[in-house]
């Protein structure tokens, strides 16, 4: 809060001092200065409009149209269908609605597990590496490799490892450890959920690690010194100082991880191809599949709009919950 007030004061000071008119002889300084922020924002604004906001608005409009392949060439003239698309999407007794519901629950479970594990691994690793030790720099770089690798290169390697006949996973589990009677399928059937989860965690935890590591650097070390003087051990310091200090970082981190994981398309798409097995049929893939397989983009758009509404709701609840928590903890 202070900063905003501060900067406004400074802002005024800048305005008073700036000999803006001297540099821009054609336009009066005041006008130029007040228009300047908008001019600076213009490229970003235009792009956000073209690539994000207009398509979203259009997508929402499309969800109210009967948009099958007959109307796709001239989608503007497709007949309005009111809430028909939504009724199809949420009719949970019919196959379409049922499939959507199943996919939604799969995605929820997947997201909770993946975000939880990513956060846990990332935080644990960052806390372990807070103190300097030999080889820490190398290890840190190494841990960031999954984050740096292009998604398709990394996920295709996992797909190879999960192959039934020539993959590493079955070689270890079946041939070397003898845990399974016969080599199992990992990329089809129920196992595919776990395969997807492992890949997702492998790829996602370094981001949590990175953010938590950055967050740890803002904890004043005096806190630890004081705690050590009071006789707090390492475990207590982690519990009493490190984790509470990371609170606000974690709130943002978990929300971002949640949104990315829930919307993730790339990982299942590269791992399974266009048609994901039912056990790992994440919502993005499901919508993509039901739009392009049936060429019914109206229903597909309705499903996407429902997805967006759900994400908005979760984000709103999260923001309200965390801001309330913050007030309480600040007082």
């Amino acid at each position: 809060m202070n900063t905003t007030a501060d900067s406004e004061v400074r802002e005024r000071a800048v305005r008073k001092d700036t000999p803006g008119a001297a540099r821009g002889p054609r336009r009066p300084g005041r006008l130029r200065r007040s228009a300047l922020p908008y001019i600076l924002l213009l490229p970003a604004l235009l792009l956000e409009l073209l690539i994000h906001l207009v398509p979203i608005a259009l997508g929402i409009a499309m969800s109210f149209k009967e948009l099958t392949q007959f109307h796709l060439r001239d989608w503007g003239s497709a007949p309005w269908s009111g809430l028909d698309n939504f009724e199809v999407a949420v009719d949970f007794d019919a196959p379409v609605g049922q499939a959507l519901l199943t996919s939604f629950f799969t995605t929820c479970l997947f997201t909770v597990l993946s975000v939880g594990l990513c956060w846990l691994l990332g935080t644990a690793a960052a806390v372990c590496m807070q103190e300097s030790f030999k080889g820490r720099g190398v290890l840190r770089a190494l841990f960031l490799v999954p984050y740096a690798l292009p998604v398709y290169a990394a996920v295709i390697t996992w797909a190879f490892m999960f192959q039934r006949d020539n993959g590493l996973i079955n070689h270890v589990l079946h041939d070397q450890l003898g845990l399974t009677d016969s080599p199992s399928f990992w990329l089809i059937g129920d196992n595919s959920f776990w395969a997807l989860l492992i890949v997702s965690v492998w790829k996602g935890w370094p981001f949590a690690f990175l953010i938590v590591m950055a967050g740890l650097q803002n904890i004043p070390k005096e806190l630890y010194e004081a705690a050590a003087l009071d006789g707090a051990g390492v475990w207590q310091q982690i519990r009493r100082i490190t984790l509470p200090s990371l609170r606000s970082v974690n709130q943002v981190l978990v929300l971002v991880l949640f949104l990315w994981t829930f919307n993730d398309f790339n990982t299942p798409f590269v791992l399974f191809g266009k048609a994901a097995p039912e056990a790992a049929n994440l919502i993005s893939i499901h919508i993509y599949q039901s739009s392009f397989a049936t060429w019914n983009f109206g229903t597909g758009s309705a499903m996407s709009v429902l997805l967006l509404a759900f994400l908005l709701l979760v984000t709103a609840v999260h923001l309200v919950a965390t801001s309330r928590g913050r007030k309480v903890s600040d007082v």
Partner: protein, 294 residues
């Protein structure tokens, strides 16, 4: 907030010696984690050096015989060089534009108080939650329509992909740079303004040089976003503009899956990003510390 400065000594935990239980837990945990992280990397490297019959048969930890054939074959099986060039052009251009645009936008938000400032930051950030699948088709239709009415080919062209990717990385880049610019003392650009620099000149002479780590971090992020994207690349490119993300699927034909070549190609396409990332990761951590995490 005031404690956030660009370069500060890393926080160390207590001077008190850590107990053995903690040291051992840490050692075991970090070793296991290293194994988990490195496993696919090992598979990628070792399998890329195996002959095709070895990768088609049972997996072996230690390769029977090594060959560098796959590294020559990958360029023949699919036009990998062409995809590579396409990816470089698309990711390079998207990164450059994204960074420049984000620098302008973040400077405006960080240094000026204007109407709609908060609305802008909130709406830009909220685009992060839009599911890609929701605007894939509308964007496709918009690009086709722009092409039909103005003759500017966005669909199927590199230009359309560049526009799309640079917008994908914009929100996070702007957000991170706002935080970073906020940590650059205002006195610096105020001094430049007093000396008669225009605001834009002050930005490039003073603020940008002071925010290099943040800008590098944003560039790395933008490049990685563009280099790794699959969904839009698979819908919006054609044979001549195909990028690596889609091109790599060409190694599995109906009869054979050239796993050794897939691994070799994956390694080759990963090297530029991973090398660049590891060289610049220090900046990313500093950039995040000052920018995103406060």
């Amino acid at each position: 907030m005031s404690s956030t400065t660009t370069h500060r000594p890393r926080t160390r935990r207590s001077p008190m010696a850590a107990p053995r239980s903690f040291v051992w837990t840490r050692r075991v945990f970090l070793t296991l984690l290293t194994g988990f992280v490195l496993l696919p990397v090992y598979v990628m490297v070792s399998s890329s050096l195996k002959p095709l019959e070895d990768v088609s048969g049972e997996f072996r930890w230690i390769p029977n015989g090594l060959t560098i054939r796959p590294y020559f074959d990958i360029w023949e099986t699919v036009p990998l060089a062409k995809y590579f060039v396409n990816s470089l052009i698309v990711a390079g251009a998207a990164t450059l534009c994204s960074v420049v645009i984000a620098v302008f936008a973040a400077y405006a938000v960080s240094r000026y108080r204007f109407r709609g400032r908060r609305l802008f930051t909130v709406s830009v950030l909220s685009t992060q939650m839009f599911p890609g699948i929701l605007f894939l088709l509308p964007l496709f239709l918009i690009f086709v329509n722009i092409g039909n009415t103005t003759g500017v080919a966005l669909f199927g062209s590199r230009g359309g992909l560049i526009l799309t990717y640079l917008t994908f990385s914009l929100p996070f880049s702007i957000w991170m740079l706002i935080g970073y610019f906020d940590s650059v003392p205002r006195e610096l650009d105020e001094a430049a303004l007093v000396d008669g620099c225009g605001p834009v000149k002050a930005l490039f002479r003073v603020v940008v040089p002071a925010a290099v780590p943040g800008i590098v971090a944003v560039a790395v992020y933008a490049f990685m976003t563009a280099w790794g994207e699959v969904l839009f690349a698979s819908v919006m490119t054609n044979d001549t503009t195909r990028t690596l993300a889609v091109g790599l699927q060409g190694y599995s034909t109906q009869n054979d899956v050239y796993w050794n070549q897939i691994m070799a190609a994956s390694l080759v396409v990963s090297v530029p990003v991973v090398a660049g990332f590891l060289l610049l990761q220090r900046y990313l951590v500093t950039g995040l510390t000052a920018g995103a995490v406060k």
